[in-house]
């Protein structure tokens, strides 16, 4: 078998077996239990929630992120094994949503880690979540969900942004020039 055939097979298999991290980062975590349990049952699509990031493939960022949580989230993301996917959940991961003027929530998740797919709404309904996962599966099948490659490629830029957010000030992070984010 050729290399491409193998990776295609791997993609087909991995899209049917997405394990996600059991990490409730925000209030969006409230709509996850219904999705995982008897009413909507994500296990039909092979999705289950795993206890530790090492075992997982999908990082579901459920809602707003306080800076303190972002620190843990980055750790969790870096512990996960490639290939890994990030789903941004709710309006707060897109632009801050309800908390656009809050001093403690980051506004745009894509500045700190690559996001493969967003789910809009506050909070998104279970149907929307399932739809997003099906789209993610589609993307994996086509080989479009390549956020993890992007994280490797622009690692320095992501790290710079994370550092800026963690320290709550921009001026301390000067050592990395914007141009050479490779």
């Amino acid at each position: 078998m050729r290399q491409e055939d193998w990776s295609k097979l791997a993609r087909i298999m991995s899209k049917r077996s997405l394990w996600m991290v059991h990490f409730c980062t925000g209030c969006g975590a409230m709509e996850m239990p219904p999705v995982l349990t008897s009413r909507y049952d994500m296990e039909r699509f092979g999705m289950i929630s795993m206890a530790t990031p090492r075992q997982a493939d999908v990082l579901l960022v459920t809602g707003y992120l306080a800076v303190k949580t972002l620190k843990r989230l980055v750790q969790v993301y870096e512990q996960m094994r490639d290939p890994k996917y990030v789903v941004g959940f709710g309006s707060c991961t897109i632009n801050g949503g309800m908390y656009w003027d809050s001093y403690n929530t980051i506004k745009d998740l894509s500045k700190y880690m690559p996001v493969d797919i967003y789910i809009a709404g506050c909070m998104p309904r279970p149907e929307a979540i399932i739809d997003a996962f099906l789209k993610l599966m589609d993307m994996i099948d086509k080989g479009e969900a390549t956020g993890w490659k992007k994280y490797h490629k622009y690692y320095k830029q992501y790290k710079r942004n994370q550092k800026m957010a963690f320290s709550y000030r921009l001026d301390e992070v000067k050592d990395i020039e914007e141009g050479d984010g490779k």
Partner: protein
């Protein structure tokens, strides 16, 4: 001579492949059954195959040292070896005389490999989980060992193949009153061996975040899951061999290949039933604390096993 060796290696690898295949299928069946108890649809029964394939296709970013890598192989290899020593539907690959003791030791090897890996990861959750796993092994091996000794005395052999052979023509051990109780005792021990509730103490996601598994991911987790899946087959087969005649219903000498086929089907059904009982108990019980589990095994289970032992001994004496 060479042909014989090649044939037997081929048959053995076929058996191991069959064992893994059945293990993965069982994982899917168990998840489906549990899902039905949960009031939901559940994954397809072939989900186990997909999961294992996916885990092996993942990349490895982090290593915890060579012990960690070796441990995963150790577990899978150990369990495959154990499977080859068991009579499966009356067919035993590597068994000789006295193999029951050997099997009891062999069953412990992959678990130890698993513990080794968990210890190498350096996570406190894994360390706690490992301690619990080893304690559980101590706990459930006592009653099951006593029941096995009782069987050895009764059948006057230490060979598992011998015990299976003596149960042929449907004279199953479970039909003998002391061994009916013995089967219950062993079933409780099986629950601990399979790490199903109420004895899934070493994993306990809410307490220690899946314990020994906490640092395993990707290929390592794949190996461990494969070991666990194969483990279900090995342990249920041991139970079926001991109490349900190993699934042998037709004499091979009399019926030829047809007997092999029927025996394998019966064996498969029997281990599935034994496994499903464990899964259903798993779905409706909470887990014990470790000291409660020890108390359960050593106080109640072992006491009943001791009683069986006396029963058999007195019967033999008379």
């Amino acid at each position: 001579m060479v042909m014989n060796i090649i044939t037997s290696i081929l048959v053995m690898s076929g058996m191991v492949a069959l064992g893994f295949a059945i293990g993965m299928l069982f994982n899917g069946i168990a998840r489906k059954v549990v899902a039905r108890i949960h009031n939901r649809v559940g994954p397809p029964v072939y989900q186990g195959y997909i999961d294992v394939f996916k885990l092996f296709s993942k990349k490895t970013n982090i290593s915890h040292g060579w012990i960690f890598d070796l441990a995963a192989l150790f577990s899978v290899g150990g369990i495959a070896l154990t499977f080859l020593f068991l009579p499966v539907a009356g067919v035993s690959m590597l068994s000789g005389e006295g193999d029951l003791f050997l099997i009891l030791y062999l069953i412990a090897i992959p678990a130890l490999g698993f513990a080794l890996g968990a210890g190498a990861s350096g996570n406190p959750n894994a360390a706690v989980g490992m301690m619990r796993a080893l304690m559980m092994m101590l706990a459930y091996e006592l009653p099951i060992a006593m029941v096995i000794v009782a069987m050895m005395v009764y059948y006057n052999t230490t060979s598992l193949a011998g015990i299976v052979a003596m149960q042929s023509n449907l004279k199953w051990a479970i039909g003998i009153p002391p061994f009916l109780i013995g089967a219950l005792v062993a079933d409780m021990a099986l629950q601990g061996m399979l790490m199903e509730k109420p004895f899934d103490i070493p994993l306990a996601p809410h307490e220690i975040a899946t314990g020994p598994l906490v640092e395993f991911g990707g290929k390592h987790l794949g190996s461990i899951i494969l070991y666990k899946m194969m483990g279900t087959v090995v342990e249920t087969t041991l139970f079926v061999d001991l109490f349900l005649g190993g699934g042998v219903v037709l004499n091979v000498n009399q019926f030829g290949w047809f007997a092999y086929l029927v025996n394998f089907i019966v064996w498969f059904v029997l281990i599935l039933v034994v496994f499903l009982i464990a899964v259903i108990i798993n779905a409706v019980f909470p887990r014990f604390r470790i000291e409660q589990a020890l108390k359960f095994y050593w106080k109640y289970d072992a006491l009943v096993a001791l009683f069986i032992l006396f029963w058999i001994f007195s019967g033999v004496m008379v």
